[in-house]
């Protein structure tokens, strides 16, 4: 298999086959919490996509240029990754606020929520566990973030439709959101055939 085919496989695997939200359960807090509002879901989707990709690149550099060469990885990885992501989110927030007030309006308010979103840290750990090189890590990050975006849009769309339908009391609110996710997850398991 060529290198390019390998990258394509990583992308498909992270976006569909192992969808980070539906099959790996990362980023669930915002997934359940924000999808009752379509606009919020879209804003959060953009913000997460952006930060995940930047974070994956930066943490890869820290992992491979500092932590591994100095044998610090086994015990300093968690602390350094979380601090890096925290400061990164802060920097991105300041930068966007200055450079593009419009963009800030659409995704800025979600940025503080992201620092503790387990998806971003999760992707960086997954990259490190797989021993991915720099490009593979970036592709995995893009795939995972798009997978998250897709899951957000699917659930937000369905919940928007549900608002006008009559549900039994039992299912109202979060309960139905979880159940729908279960069924969508079942559907996503069908993507397994996409990679060989």
């Amino acid at each position: 298999m060529s290198y390019l085919a390998n990258l394509a496989k990583i992308f498909v695997a992270s976006a569909f086959v192992n969808n980070i939200v539906l099959l790996q359960f990362l980023g669930l807090c915002s997934y359940i919490g924000l999808t009752d509002n379509m606009d919020a879901s879209i804003g959060m989707g953009y913000a997460v996509t952006f930060v995940t990709v930047v974070a994956a690149a930066v943490t890869w550099i820290i992992d491979h240029w500092i932590l591994i060469p100095y044998h610090l990885q086994p015990f300093l990885q968690i602390v350094s990754f979380i601090l890096v992501i925290g400061s990164l989110v802060g920097l991105v927030e300041i930068y966007i606020k200055k450079m593009s007030p419009n963009l800030y309006k659409s995704m800025g308010i979600y940025l503080p929520l992201i620092a503790t979103n387990c998806l971003i840290l999760g992707v960086t750990f997954i990259n490190s566990m797989h021993n991915f090189d720099f490009i593979e890590s970036t592709v995995e990050a893009i795939g995972s973030a798009l997978g998250y975006f897709m899951a957000m849009l699917i659930l937000a769309g369905i919940r928007e439709r549900l608002r006008n339908s009559e549900l039994p009391d039992f299912f109202k609110g979060k309960a139905i959101a979880f159940m729908i996710s279960g069924i969508v997850a079942l559907a996503f398991m069908g993507f397994q055939g996409m990679i060989k």
Partner: protein, 197 residues
């Protein structure tokens, strides 16, 4: 300014304490982890090559023809003074994380055994690859890994053709088969070039 200095100092101090504590805990757990790994490795090696043989780690790197599959440590299997085979540690991309396994290859190009060291496959589906009670052939009680024993490295190793796949886990079945095939091929060509003798 004074305030910022103080804040930085406090944060730095906490960071330093944290780093120091972690280094201490790591120093304490590292030998335990190392001993455990060594024990598992030894058990794995003798499981892949059953019998009373001597295993020796080689300081060489063998290159894998597939970028997705990585070949790690290489061990030779010795019976007395003769090298009768090799064991390769390979990692093949599984469902969520790489499947790390030991593959034993006889010098004549037959697989002697396979053992999965690390994997993160879906429980109930892919995880059955290393389940000793999951049989792909119930009548003969052959597990998924058992079926590789005595296969020739020149066989195709394709699930649903010459490999019986795990139900509902095509990715895992393919990943393991591919890893075994590549390890086999690499080791066999290494022997043919005169390595290990």
């Amino acid at each position: 300014m004074n305030k910022i200095m103080k804040l930085t100092l406090v944060l730095g101090l906490i960071g330093a304490i944290s780093g120091g504590t972690l280094a201490g805990v790591y120093k304490f757990t590292a030998p335990v982890i190392k001993a455990q790994d060594a024990k598992e490795l030894q058990a794995g090696l003798s499981e892949v090559f059953p019998g009373n043989y001597e295993f020796k780690k080689l300081e060489i790197k063998l290159k894998s023809p597939d970028p997705a599959i990585q070949i790690g440590d290489v061990y030779t299997v010795k019976s007395g003074k003769n090298v009768i085979g090799a064991i390769l540690k390979v990692s093949s991309p599984g469902d969520q994380a790489p499947i790390v396994m030991l593959v034993g290859i006889n010098k004549d190009g037959r697989i002697s055994g396979v053992k999965i060291l690390q994997s993160l496959e879906t429980p109930g589906l892919g995880a059955n690859a290393s389940n000793p009670h999951y049989y792909v052939n119930k009548a003969k009680k052959i597990t998924f890994l058992d079926q590789f024993k005595n296969k020739k490295v020149t066989d195709p190793f394709v699930p649903k053709k010459d490999v019986i796949a795990i139900t509902g886990a095509t990715i895992t079945s393919t990943a393991v088969s591919k890893g075994v095939k590549i390890a086999g091929e690499v080791a066999y060509s290494y022997f043919k070039k005169g390595g290990g003798s």
